[in-house]
Symmetry: C2
Subunit: 322 residues, 2 copies
């Protein structure tokens, strides 16, 4: 068994890649902008990442175990094909075949999976889900990514499109989502949703002539971020506290839905908003425990809700383990 794998986390904006040891440590890193102008340019970017990392380590391609690629969208891991991707021009692309051709790494050693699934696998092997029987990870970023793993197997469904946890409706007839539905969890619980909710509260305060720290912070930083409401609430701003409270209610609703379905040993929360740490997780846990179906069970049986541990590396590490 080779000592190192390569993991590539292909995003709509950046490619992040690394040489990953068998214990999940990244020894060499590579990052670049994703050139999304064509299918070929994306493939060239992937091959470039692999070649750059091999050059850095001085290893030959035959000394690498697996080259794993994490890719947004619907990914057929067995066929090595991207079936649908909203942000990348990869519809129907035989990514594994192409990258094999460009790098000389044999096809059988190249793997591909959905990026949220790869991140969940990374956390399951080396992060918040270490040693778990079953593990659920949600990533709170621009969207809501989800991945469920039981006995080492990623839930992908028969058509590789499973685990789209963010595209479950929690507000029937609610806000329009990019997926075509209304009221998806992603529209209420993502970092972008929190930014929208914060902006709406600022506008509401301005309309009512009520002062809010959120407004001042937005001016001094030049923008509203997913941190704005949390920081203003910490300073005692009432309108901000309401934004945070409502956001956590939506998130608790969503997380409770997942727990009632999966009852995993651990549910890890990753992505930018998870950097709030206990500021987010403590009230989240409290609300989930009050709502979940099995609240009358002994506490030892409850799903542990914790912060993801690998941060932005989860995708690279998980890809290397595919």
């Amino acid at each position: 068994m080779c000592e190192y794998n390569i993991g590539i986390d292909l995003g709509g904006t950046n490619i992040a890649a690394g040489v990953v040891s068998r214990d999940g440590e990244i020894s060499e890193r590579f990052t670049a902008k994703t050139d999304v102008s064509s299918k070929g340019s994306v493939m060239a970017g992937l091959a470039e990442a692999a070649r750059a990392l091999l050059a850095k380590t001085g290893l030959g391609s035959e000394q690498i175990g697996t080259l794993g690629i994490a890719c947004p969208g619907i990914v057929d891991g067995e066929g090595g094909v991207v079936e649908y991707s909203a942000n990348l021009p990869l519809l129907g692309a035989d990514v594994v075949g192409e990258v094999s051709r460009l790098t000389g790494i044999e096809r059988g050693r190249i793997r591909i999976a959905n990026d949220a699934d790869a991140a969940a696998l990374g956390e399951y092997r080396f992060g918040a889900g270490r040693g778990c029987g079953d593990f659920l990870m949600i990533t709170i970023g621009t969207g809501i990514g989800g991945g469920y793993i039981s006995d080492g197997k990623i839930l992908t469904g028969k058509n590789h499109a499973g685990g789209e946890l963010g595209h479950t409706v929690i507000v029937f007839g609610g806000e329009e989502c990019g997926c075509g539905r209304r009221g998806c969890a992603e529209r209420y619980c993502s970092a972008s949703a929190l930014v929208r909710q914060t902006k709406a509260a600022i506008e509401d305060c301005e309309r009512r002539g009520v002062a809010t720290l959120m407004s001042e912070m937005a001016k001094s930083y030049g923008k509203v971020s997913a941190r704005t409401a949390f920081r203003a609430a910490d300073e005692g701003d009432e309108a901000a506290a309401e934004v945070v409270d409502r956001y956590i209610s939506y998130l608790a609703c969503t997380v409770t839905n997942y727990i009632n379905i999966f009852q995993p040993e651990v549910l890890a929360v990753g992505g930018g908003v998870s950097n709030e740490g206990e500021r987010l997780l403590a009230p989240l846990r409290e609300r989930v425990l009050a709502e979940m179906y099995n609240k009358r069970q002994p506490r030892a049986l409850y799903t542990e809700i914790k912060r993801a541990e690998l941060g932005g590396d989860a995708g690279v590490v998980g890809a290397s383990e595919l």
Copy 2:
């Protein structure tokens, strides 16, 4: 391997049981009212069902492979213990141990599982899910029961409480549910929900002085049932058509949530409302296909939505296969 198993479907109202062959056929049946007055009376009822069936077949208890029990609530299949049941006095009951003691059937041959999970297993082995890799079943009755099976394994979660698909919120802040949450799918998609929705529409029509067939049907049958709105809509009643339409919208929302999460090969709909057949399933499919995340995939990859095949026998047959 023994040729026959016994399956017992323990409900809050009735006990249904049967001797089930290896190909899922029920050769002998037993039914009785459930005596819910105490833990002991429920156990006695289970033992009585087993003994009555053995007497009918003339088989000794050693000639039976498995005695399986399907039980509502949170059931620890490995420990043989009921951890929580809303409608039965079985909190913490060692059902497997007690039934073993009362029947003389050795403990190792007695199994117990959640009733919705058992029903899903029955359909997976011998009904709508035959030959599937992964299968999801929802049962639309008084509540919404759910069960997911992948590679023969029932999703129960680490604490045996998983698969509570009916207790996922689709209407944030909506109607109060028996589980303590607000807006659960069960409150909008169960047969009881449809009855409530029908009654509300009748009252609304009466208030507005609008004639509706639903009102006449309710009077002539002496009650409103889950069939009332469907039958009145079939006769051209506009208010009834609205009730059916709204009900199917809620159900489509719920089913799409499940599909976006699991993407199973087959999703079977069982329970009383599924007797509407294509009258329910055709519009349901149409809406789900328009909403689901993978709608751009080739049709061959879509989850097949079909009616459950075993009807009320799913629990008995599934229990026998535990």
